[in-house]
């Protein structure tokens, strides 16, 4: 048995080659905030094509939710790493050499690099105005706060938490800070762009082909039909390869050069392109003596960096998932998406929900401790059940939160003793609203599936083929899924939010119906998922269905050095129905391991706004040798249930489980990652003088 991944036959976006192709390199601002006074390109050899702000001034601003990005910085660089110029040369070596011959005269300007400082009135403004995008990625109403760095504010207003606190027996109010993180997809960002007869073609690693198409069309003033996006498989993405990344620069260079241009980032640039939102989350929860949660007041401040990207959406989710899967009658949430002069932050596995879940789950254990109630018991008393109404006013169904929680607790022998053990429970939304389409073409016994689902290691093409084969009643070997090419596949919102298996299963149902209803040669299926929230009250339908999961861990600490050793880690995720078992297991395992990294190791370090650990030795992801001795998980299924995506679910509860386990060892954590130094400091605070 063989597979292209084992034989070296796999090809990724970075392997794309076209005849006559040039190689791009980007010149980036070293300053967090600076005026670009002049750029001297006189020494760049004629064999190279050089692009500066002058060349792209005629191009449109873009951005999936707020249109605050230009192809290159025009007048000011807004973060250390902001692209200021770009070179295309016949070889990468020449491009590197030419880059050193471009001289930029900068005038440094005041920079704001902390989210709590940036949100203050009077802080230097990163952008003067916020122009809201009008495209499908801006699928909710934005609330930029004029005269501030807040580019979106999401609120939930339900009941009266302050009144509830007044009547509560106990109120806990704690604040937590989570660091930024890097996706570290092993394959870097890579895009090849070519213009031919007024048509722009881009071969790129992206999860969002149709968004990239519509934004590129906008940037270059052409019709969407004049832009073709082809999505080769990605060597990982985890949210990093979303929306326009390198494509606009590659296309602008290709336009000027009259030749195809390939842009690939080096590892240090990956830390200056798109990261995960650092956040400060304050959670105030009140309860009665018997453990009933009566009110929650939550504030989230998310640092979106110098460009909003999908920050507003991330913050909306951070906010609407913040209360968690609990019956709380009075909930107010304020989630602000705040600009800073740091690299942009955007989609990252978990999509904002790790940050707020961490804070809330730790507060629940503080409550449990003060009330003298077991943390599992406290949660079970309040956990959402079918028919309950959530903080958004929507009625929830298919609730398996209690089951996930109890499964996780069982896995670490919760009742045998609690010391060193902790757990966390997640309620996560799926992109709502959205739209998915699929076309099935029959060629004799063979079927071709065309859809916009992009492959980044989650195994989606295999899963979609399995779903199609099931519905067509044929063997898997008779079904083939095509590489997404926006010229030949129908629309799909994007491959994010763990939505794809679910929506494509429904779109395929529709396509097979259509196929059989017609001449049997072609079927076109469409599914539209409706919903959405009022950004000022949080009322509406946040998620068509919810992703549900729990994690539990047992750990010990070296009390003399603060090193944390996770002994066992278990995730219980609700899958509804598993389609491709091996793939589902890999997604759970991978999410848990990424969660471990977020919990213990991963943090982007800055000095004067510059990333100081932009390499894989100074920024560390978990290795084989970091795995807990026991890493296990389960996929909970229920007959007749909907398929639930699993791409992210097992990640967010892991840092919460670890934080809560440490609490039982008298280590109170208020930050992620939980470094050995933090643990040692916390332990030493416990020692009486």
């Amino acid at each position: 048995m063989s597979d292209p991944r084992t034989t070296g036959a796999s090809r990724f976006a970075e392997d794309a080659r076209l005849p006559d192709m040039l190689y791009a390199r980007i010149l980036r601002s070293p300053y967090a905030h600076a005026r670009i006074r002049s750029i001297d390109t006189s020494l760049v050899p004629d064999s190279c094509v050089i692009l500066t702000g002058e060349d792209v001034r005629d191009l449109e601003r873009y951005g999936p939710q707020i249109q605050d990005q230009t192809v290159l910085a025009l007048y000011e660089a807004l973060y250390a790493g902001d692209p200021v110029a770009a070179i295309a040369a016949p070889t990468p070596r020449e491009a590197n050499g030419a880059l050193e011959l471009v001289f930029v005269d900068y005038e440094e300007l005041p920079a704001v690099t902390d989210v709590l400082e940036a949100r203050e009135p009077g802080a230097p403004l990163v952008h003067e105005t916020a122009r809201i995008a009008e495209n499908e990625a801006a699928y909710f109403e934005m609330r930029p706060q004029p005269g501030t760095n807040v580019c979106h504010r999401f609120r939930i207003r339900r009941g009266d938490p302050e009144a509830a606190f007044a009547g509560a027996d106990i109120v806990v109010d704690e604040t937590y800070r989570t660091a930024g993180a890097q996706h570290v997809h092993m394959e870097p960002h890579a895009s090849v762009a070519r213009w031919q007869d007024g048509v722009l073609e881009v071969w790129t690693g992206t999860q969002t082909p149709f968004n990239v198409r519509s934004d590129l069309a906008r940037v270059f003033h052409v019709a969407p039909e004049a832009v073709r996006v082809v999505c080769e498989p990605m060597g990982g993405s985890f949210g990093g390869k979303t929306f326009v990344r390198l494509e606009a620069i590659a296309a602008a260079l290709a336009r000027k050069a009259g030749r195809p241009v390939k842009a690939v980032l080096d590892r240090s640039e990956e830390f200056q392109t798109l990261n995960r939102h650092p956040a400060v989350v304050r959670v105030k929860i009140g309860a009665t003596e018997d453990g009933t949660l009566v009110g929650a007041r939550i504030w989230c401040w998310a640092d979106t960096g110098a460009y909003a990207d999908s920050g507003p959406g991330v913050v909306q989710k951070m906010g609407f998932a913040a209360p968690g899967p609990y019956r709380i009658a009075n909930v107010w949430v304020d989630a602000d998406c705040v600009y800073t002069h740091l690299p942009p932050n955007g989609a990252f596995r978990g999509y904002g929900q790790m940050q707020s879940t961490f804070a809330r789950e730790l507060v629940l254990d503080v409550l449990a401790d003060r009330l003298g109630i077991d943390p599992v018991e406290l949660r079970l008393r309040n956990v959402l059940r079918d028919g309950d109404v959530y903080a958004t006013g929507e009625t929830v169904h298919d609730c398996m939160y209690g089951e996930c929680l109890q499964a996780a607790a069982r896995a670490v022998d919760w009742n045998a003793g609690r010391r060193g053990k902790g757990l966390g429970l997640l309620m996560k939304g799926m992109q709502t609203p959205s739209r998915a389409e699929v076309v099935i073409e029959a060629h004799g016994d063979e079927y071709i599936i065309r859809c916009g689902a992009t492959e980044m290691g989650q195994g989606t093409w295999r899963t979609i083929a399995l779903l199609a084969a099931e519905r067509l009643g044929v063997d898997l070997s008779h079904v083939r899924v095509e590489v997404p090419d926006t010229n030949v596949v129908p629309y799909d919102s994007r491959t994010t939010s763990s939505r794809t298996t679910y929506v494509m299963s429904r779109a395929l149902d529709d396509a097979v119906r259509d196929l059989h209803a017609g001449d049997g040669r072609r079927g076109h299926g469409v599914v539209v998922i409706e919903g959405g929230l009022d950004p000022d009250t949080g009322a509406g339908v946040a998620s068509h269905h919810w992703h549900q999961g729990a994690a539990a861990c047992e750990l010990r600490v070296d009390e003399e050095t603060g090193r944390v050793e996770v002994l066992r880690l278990h995730a219980a995720t609700y899958a509804g129905r598993v389609v491709a078992r091996a793939g589902a297991e890999l997604q759970n395992e991978g999410s848990m391991i990424m969660g471990l990294g977020s919990a213990l190791y991963e943090s982007i370090a800055f000095a004067d706004g510059q990333v100081t650990n932009a390499n894989l030795s100074d920024y560390e992801i978990p290795s084989f040798a970091d795995l807990p001795a026991q890493l296990t998980h389960e996929l909970i299924e229920k007959p007749g249930a909907e398929i639930h995506g699993l791409g992210e679910t097992a990640l967010p509860p892991v840092p919460a489980a670890i934080g809560n386990a440490l609490k039982t060892l008298d280590v109170e954590v208020h930050e992620l990652p939980i470094t050995a130094e933090h643990v040692l400091n916390a332990l030493e605070r416990q020692v009486p003088a």
């Binding site: 050899p45 003399e560 050095t561 290795s623 470094t675």
Partner: protein, 269 residues
Amino acid sequence: MSAAPPEWLTPSSLDEALRLRAERGDDATVLAGGTFVAILMNQGLLTPAAFLALRDVPGLDTIAIDDGELRLGALVTHRAVELSRVVRENVPALALTFSVVASPRVRNQATVGGVLADADYASDPPAMLTALGSRAVARSVRGQRDIALEELIVGHYTTSLEPDELLTEVRVPLGEHRAAYRKFRSRSHEDRPCVGVAACRRPHELRVAVGAVAERPQWFPELCEGEPAEIGRAYAAAIDPLDDIRGSSDYRRRVIAVEVRRALEEIAA
């Protein structure tokens, strides 16, 4: 912007290598395994005019026992030290130290001479070699000289080697001893050391060397007396550790006290 590739000099004898070294000095970057130089080149931090590649120089890649000493040639790889029966039987702590460096890939390529000449502070072997009382042998057209390990590394990425010298071997005294190396990582198992403690007790001498906390391994002969905990505290007070991504100065100081004590407990008589 120079497009011409650097000269690739491959002397086939030590004499020829020393002659080229004397002629070119630091204009020709010495290549043993080349891992460190490759990293600098991949990051665009080094554009040498020439390479002085030692791969064809015979006699630099042997491990032998000679006259009461273990001799490690400068081109001996980390992996060879790790797996060598001679090293494991005679100085097991040294085999262990080389075995915990980086990954098997790096250990297959990086050399004994290279790790010392690079003088990277976040490194394991220098501390252990210092605690073992080793010396480096430097040769030049002018002759040969021995450099005690504690005098070899003088600063960040800086050794006391002259521009015309090549490090050709390291000599480790044998004889009865108990030694330990503790590599303290503050993050992933794959991390470089936050604190590295090497301890070696011989019949008449105890040496403790702490690496990865300052620009050079820290050895205080006058503090190597007393109970393990006392020595640990004394070392922590005597060292002014640096701050880096793996730990703050203050954190390192606390870990030094603990890990020195633990290393000494491992080799307690």
